[in-house]
Amino acid sequence: MSAEPLLSYLIWALFLVLGLITLGNAIRYPLASNIHVAVFFAIPALIILIRIAAALGLLRPGLLTNAINTSLLLALPFVLLRLVDDFVGVPGWLVWTAGLLIGGLAMTAFVFPPPRPPWFVPLAVLSFTGLQLYSAVAFTHATASTVGVTRRRLRTIALGSLLLGLAVLATALTPFAAWWRSVSEVAALGAGLSYFAGFAPPAPLRRTWQDPELRAFLRESASLPQVPEEHRALEQLERSAAAVFGSSLASIALWEQGARHLRFYRDGASYNLPPDPGTVIGHAFVYRRPILGSPEAKTIAAVLPERAAEVRAILAAPLAANGQTLGVIAIFTHRAALFANDDLRLADLIASQTAAVLENHRLLAAQARARGREEASRLKDDFLSAAAHDLMTPLTTLVVQTQHLERQLRRDPTATVGLTTIERMSGEAQRLRELIRELIDAANAERAQLVGRREPVDLAALVREIGARYHSDRHSCRVEAPESLVGNFDQQRIGQLVRCLLENAVRYSPDGGPIHLKLSQDGDTAHLAVIDSGIGISEEELPQVFERFFRGSNVNDRYFAGMGLSLFICRAIAEQHGGRMWVESKLGSGSTFHLLLPLTQVSTTHDSERPDPGG
């Protein structure tokens, strides 16, 4: 036997095997796409069987076999068109037109024995090449918009179309040189194998194609528990899970025990779905099994109303962890053919991994919440102990001083009390009052309840008035402000803020020195700068200046320092007016405190009462 027939027999054997495999697959999983693939491979197998039967003398080549062969060949591109429809979609009218055309030609082949009407061959060649070309273009075009395994499959199918085209061309060239026949047969074999790999990839090949995305998914899921917000972690999981299946869309639904529904999040909105076992997603959740199916209208309506046209199949798997079902992961695709049955196992794996990530994420979040509560409780304890500590010192002075006076007067009722002593006692009593006010303000600042009713206030007049009060020989207080600068403020609180900044400027300029108040308007924002030339703040301490209980380490007398809450309160007043504060300073050469306040009404939580605009 020469090499040429051997090659032919080998190719025949291979096509018969492919036909049997796809037939078996279609019988086991009778999905439309599997049946179409089986029919597609049955055509060359039938043609080959007819040839074998003829070669063995079982069938006499005649008009009937010729008609059957011709019809089968004509049917091939039509079945391919159906496969294009299964995998990427074809307009309905095209399928119908092609069906009618091919059906008509096949009937002609039976009705008119050769020689056939003169239009038959050109029309047959035209429809064959036209449909073949269309399929090749459609598959090639679709690869651009797909990912992962789907893209690899579609590329292989496109390659198959290319090889089939080459086979047809080589057959046409056979009269010119005999070896074109071999080229044609090898190309046909390549086309067959490519179509087989693309349309019905065997499990090992499918897994190889899914491998890069699966690895990426596993790699990414390892880092996801650290992503702070659960919904963001879920979005990333959805994206990479979809990629594993070569789909563009996956959605994770979480079970809400209280509301008893599955909740999907998408683009900031959420959709609820009852756990109805009659739906694909509900089935996966209730029976805790992965499932492949067509989405019901209500699922689409609930989950993906805007993508209804694109979604034809769902692969859903339960998110099970520690005996609990946390929810469902659903992978959507526009074509059922893109899922294979062994994808269910992969979906289960992806779902388990997703559940593990979710569980880890929740544990970490719970841990963080516990730590937050501990931290809050520690802050409160610190606050209370610092507050108690600061109140004790003036209280001790008052107690000891009073008891001392009492003792002196008991010993000698005519004893006189020095003015200094009375002044100190009065001073300490006032200091206690201020400290307690400071505490209450700080507590209100925490609850964002410092700022009360706002009304139009002339900031320029306010700053000028307060500045004048702080002007002394020791501290010249220069105010630079526009004629008038009116905004909506809580006058009392803004006054408190400005006074506090001036007091700080005085307090931290122990050697005297000028203080400069500079008020300006920048668009609809007022900018106040309080500039002193005092002891300043060290660079390390700058970030803490507005923290609670902060007192500069270069401050010598605690008597003047207060509780270290005043700047914390100032910042809260500014922020509750929609403004902000910051400081620039250099140790030894003074500080500049900046305050920005929006002049226009800015809504805050405690601004329900609108001030009278005429006020």
Binding site: D390, L391, V400, R411, R558, Y559
Partner: protein, 139 residues
């Protein structure tokens, strides 16, 4: 106690410092005040006080820092810790003080503690409120 120097009041709060200095002076003690550990150290070296009333939390050099420097320089002298912190006794023990006064303390507690330390070198009842009336001492 061999030292005959003043009682040194160390507190960064000028009001309480001035008050205690004045009261102890009125009770007949020689007194001095310092606003932080560094000032106190200077005075200790210069005037060799017989007792130090020491606040713990102070800028520049705090109570712990002062106690460390004193022990490094082998300057041994009785210290009474004055603090509003809850850990007053523990802090006193940490720096080897003879006793502690927890703010807010009474006049009687202050005078008793001072007297006891000056007489016996230690303050056994420090931290407890004195039940007995204060002993009269000078005018």
């Amino acid at each position: 106690m061999t030292a005959k120097g003043p009682i040194l009041v160390v507190d960064d709060d000028s009001a309480i410092r001035a008050t205690i200095v004045e009261i102890l002076a009125a009770e007949g003690y020689e007194t001095a005040g310092a606003a932080n550990g560094a000032e106190a150290l200077e005075m200790i070296e210069r005037e060799a006080p017989r007792l130090v009333l020491l606040d713990m939390r102070m800028p520049v050099l705090d109570g712990w820092g002062l106690a460390r420097v004193l022990s490094e320089r082998q300057l041994r002298l009785p210290i009474l810790v004055m603090t509003a912190a809850q850990d007053a006794r523990q802090w006193a023990a940490e720096i080897g003080a003879v006793g502690c006064l927890a703010k807010p303390f009474d006049l009687v507690e202050l005078l008793d503690a001072v007297e006891r330390v000056l007489e016996t070198g230690c303050d056994a009842s420090a931290g407890h409120a004195a039940e007995t009336p204060a002993p009269h001492k000078g005018g």
